[in-house]
């Protein structure tokens, strides 16, 4: 009996009908929303309505965060699915094609959930925050039509891309890849449109002092729009990779045959590789966003980094530390299944030391809320020694060195079973170490120099630090590729023969990424404090207080747990099809 909804003749149609209904519901929301938000016939719009039991704020918070999780996943995964498919096409390695299809299967399953949650979020805005939503419609009405149209186009492209996998194979593979590229383009534009709405709330522009629209493009291209676009683009890839890796880890742990284990071990590795590769660029995008926030409004920037949100960065530091150390640990465990990797084992303790030191620096707060006795004991609000490590100079230096260290771990992994045979191997390796040494020196120099200049100058130093690390990565890889092109192998990677704890590391990374996304979402939204649209539309609801970190953490945990439960459910449903097909 054919139970696979993806392959059965009636399945796609059933899916199509469901999604078409969802889509239509979404369009209706966009169309009907403004009218609905107008309120009573007398023209008076009720500003707020309450949501039973949990209140409006938790309702909108939960729906928005869940929607964002799913949206990030379905936007991130196709980006590397297309790359993996392209690699499979060029190398004629069927594993890559299988992997890309697996990725898309997961995306496909999550697509409906994303649309449903988007609809739910819109309903919540219209019913619970009608005045706010009405204002957003006034500003962004035309872009909402664009969004709805793009959603149609993206959906049909996704259907064609997924269902046309077999049909557009062989000589027509190029067309299939083109569809994949288009799918990513539509998805990216969709995200950019939605980002305009939320970044406008943070850093409104294109409106006059009374909040009236003067330029739609000005409202879209507000100061934080492009930094958020770039930041989310990278973060989505990271997130998608992490979730895929966790999925593979789950399948690995439940695998019954060596073949299955090998397959999912490899899938987990690729997912994690994508996640970590993009993660390395994420702090840079974060710096840019931070700079733009400061440039837009110093008060907002300082509230974010030094005001009531300052403790949030300590929690973020813990998560970043877990991500870096976890990613490296996974690579080191992975090296155990590669013959020849023993050569590099002695380096690992040094890498651990650098990562641990970086983590400690990153997690050191500059100032903290302390009792009078504690303050007296410290001799001021800043600790005389550790306070020095709390400033951005130290933190930028630490994170850049951690990125370099992770890159070294990857390099060791990459060459674990390979011995370069080119004649210039010694000079090539020397050049690589010199490049990384210079990058580390530049990072450290500007880190130390930052203590002796004004903050306005110091902010600029982070750019030099970032560029030196990026340049080092590019230059080292430019040497590495030709150097190991015809390398002698010391043995094939024994896929599937990795310690099971490595798979728990992948799950740890996925959970941490997800939780971190929730935390940063709280930071981005929370710095507006009691404003729906910063400086333009005040939040006058009874829930206008921005909650403390503990409250936010509990909420983030609850939403993340719900998201992961949804993901498990969706993957389980996807697995039913497979079981049916096998049975």
């Amino acid at each position: 009996m054919q139970l696979d909804v993806i392959k059965s003749p009636s399945g796609p149609m059933r899916n199509f009908q469901t999604r078409a209904t969802l889509l239509l519901a979404g369009i209706l929301l966009v169309v009907a929303g403004p009218a609905w938000a107008q309120g009573t016939p007398g023209g008076q719009t009720e500003a707020y309505r309450s949501f039973p039991l949990i209140g409006s704020r938790l309702a909108v918070w939960g729906a928005a965060q869940l929607h964002l999780y799913f949206a990030a996943f379905i936007l991130g995964v196709p980006m590397f699915a297309i790359i993996v498919e392209f690699i499979g096409w060029r190398t004629q390695d069927a594993r890559y094609d299988w992997l890309a299809r697996q990725f898309m299967k997961l995306t496909f399953a999550a697509y409906s959930a994303t649309a449903l949650l988007g609809g739910l979020l819109t309903f919540i805005f219209i019913t619970l925050y009608p005045r706010f939503f009405g204002y957003l419609v006034e500003i962004f009405g035309p872009t909402m039509w664009v969004y709805a149209g793009l959603f149609f186009v993206e959906t049909f492209t996704l259907y064609l891309y997924y269902y046309g996998w077999d049909w557009l194979s062989g000589p027509r593979k190029g067309i299939h890849l083109g569809l994949g590229v288009l799918l990513n383009i539509w998805g990216t534009i969709l995200m950019f449109v939605a980002n305009a709405w939320l970044t406008f709330m943070m850093s409104p522009s294109g409106v006059d002092e009374a909040g009236k629209l003067t330029s739609l493009w000005g409202a879209i291209y507000n100061p934080t729009w492009m930094p958020i676009n770039v930041h989310r683009l990278i973060a989505n890839i990271t997130f998608g990779g992490a979730i895929v890796a966790a999925y593979a880890a789950f399948r690995f742990l439940g695998a019954r045959t060596d073949e299955e284990r090998a397959q999912y071990d490899w899938m987990g590795y690729v997912g994690n590789f994508v996640a970590v590769s993009s993660l390395l660029f994420l702090p840079f995008a974060g710096y840019w966003l931070g700079r733009e926030i400061y440039a837009f409004n110093q008060t907002m920037g300082i509230t974010m980094m030094g005001g009531f949100m300052s403790w949030l960065w300590v929690v973020q530091a813990i998560l970043i530390g877990v991500l870096f150390i976890g990613s490296n640990y996974y690579l080191w465990l992975g090296m155990e299944r590669i013959p020849g990797s023993e050569r590099y084992r002695p380096y690992i303790p040094y890498l651990v030391m650098i990562l641990a030191a970086g983590f400690i620096v990153w997690a050191t707060p500059r100032s903290m809320v302390a009792t009078l006795e504690e303050t007296r004991a410290m001799g001021g609000t800043h600790h005389p020694v550790l306070g020095v490590l709390g400033v951005m100079s130290a933190k930028n230096t630490a994170v850049n060195l951690m990125i370099l260290t992770t890159f070294v771990s990857f390099l060791l992994y990459r060459r674990a079973n390979r011995v370069a045979t080119v004649s210039w191997v010694r000079s090539g390796m020397t050049a690589q170490w010199i490049i990384m040494g210079v990058a580390a020196a530049v990072v450290t120099f500007y880190g130390v120099y930052g203590y002796f200049v004004e903050s306005i100058v110091r902010i600029g130093f982070s750019v030099y630090q970032v560029l030196s690390v990026l340049a080092a990565i590019v230059c080292v890889m430019a040497i590495d590729f030709p150097m190991f092109r015809r390398a002698r192998s010391t043995g094939a990677i024994r896929w599937g023969q990795i310690a099971p704890r490595s798979q728990y590391v992948l799950i740890l990374l996925a959970v941490s990424f997800t939780w971190l996304m929730g935390l940063m979402g709280f930071a981005r939204s929370g710095i507006r404090q009691h404003w729906h649209v910063y400086g333009i539309l005040r939040d006058t609801s009874p829930e206008a207080v921005t909650p403390a970190l503990g409250y936010a953490a509990n909420m983030i945990t609850a939403v993340t747990a719900i998201f992961l439960a949804f993901v498990v459910l969706i993957f389980w449903l996807g697995g039913l099809g497979e079981r049916g097909a096998k049975g």
């Binding site: 009531f308 903290m368 333009i536």
Partner: protein, 281 residues
């Protein structure tokens, strides 16, 4: 008994999140509360009360402390120790008071050498101090080695006007179906407001705040709520609390209430000397 994989992985994921949540709950908990509106109109505030209120704004709603230090050099903004005296020397021909007011309302007009022009206009969102709050802040700044001589009238009447989408909504004239003249009768008669409040040419008692420009400095929502729930809306600084009758809202008929509010909304300072019915008396 064999534990299912989903239970093991689920427990692991929950444990990881639990650790993060526990950590976030174990560090200091700071929440950002909605800043309260301070109202000091009435003229009977002592300089000491004004300075104290200004200090509260400096450290709280004004968010001045984020960049300015007192007695400590900052990298973002000048040290404000002694600003009450130093302000007189910043711009030739400008008094300390005028300079401080200008610095708050138009910070870019003069920049202290070595500091970037990053200060926002404090009467505009997101800080959005109202006239009373600006008055108090100026007094606090003057108190640092200077003489506190600022009056509410020194603060431009355009300062602190609500702007933004919310302001636009508020700015739309509120049309109440009330009769201001009848409202004045309530003010002087059944409501007995005149016993404590001054309203332009009528009333002279210093027991409660002067309401001569209440329509200019307070929102209709505030005025209406204050009549219905005097204690719940707080007490203007410098006046004894709980003097206003808590049952005033209940003793008035709907028409009298609307008439009274309509009358109060005519009190905008400039015309207060010729309040509608007062001219007839």
């Amino acid at each position: 008994m064999r534990v299912p994989l989903i239970v093991k992985v689920g427990t692991f994921a929950l444990a990881v999140m639990g650790v993060y949540a526990y950590y976030a709950n174990s560090i200091p908990q700071i929440q950002s509360t909605l800043p309260e509106e301070l109202s000091l109109e009435g003229g009977n505030v002592t300089p000491e009360q004004l300075v104290k209120a200004g200090e509260g704004i400096f450290k709280g709603k004004g968010t001045c402390e984020i960049c300015h230090r007192i007695g400590q050099k900052g990298t973002r903004a000048p040290d404000l120790a002694g600003i009450g005296a130093a302000a007189a020397k910043r711009k030739p021909g400008m008094s300390a008071k005028a300079y401080i007011i200008e610095s708050l309302l138009d910070p870019g007009a003069y920049l202290v050498e070595g500091y970037p022009g990053i200060m926002p206009k404090v009467d505009r969102p997101p800080i959005g101090l109202n006239r009373s709050e600006l008055w108090a802040t100026v007094a606090f700044l003057q108190s640092m080695a200077g003489t506190v001589d600022v009056k509410l009238d020194d603060i431009p009447k355009t300062a602190g006007a609500v702007v933004g989408a919310e302001g636009a909504a508020q700015g739309a004239e509120l049309k109440l179906p009330g009769d201001p003249k009848a409202g004045q009768v309530v003010f002087m008669g059944k409501g007995a407001c005149i016993a404590c409040h001054k309203a332009g040419a009528i009333g002279a008692s210093p027991i409660g705040p002067d309401l001569s420009q209440i329509a200019k400095i307070q929102t209709p929502e505030y005025i209406m709520a204050k009549i219905l729930d005097p204690a719940g809306m707080g007490t203007v600084a410098g006046y004894p609390p709980n003097l206003m009758p808590p049952t005033l809202g209940q003793t008035l008929t709907a028409k009298e209430y609307i008439d009274l509010v309509s009358f109060l909304l005519t009190l905008k300072g400039e015309a207060s000397a010729q309040a509608p019915a007062a001219s007839k008396r």
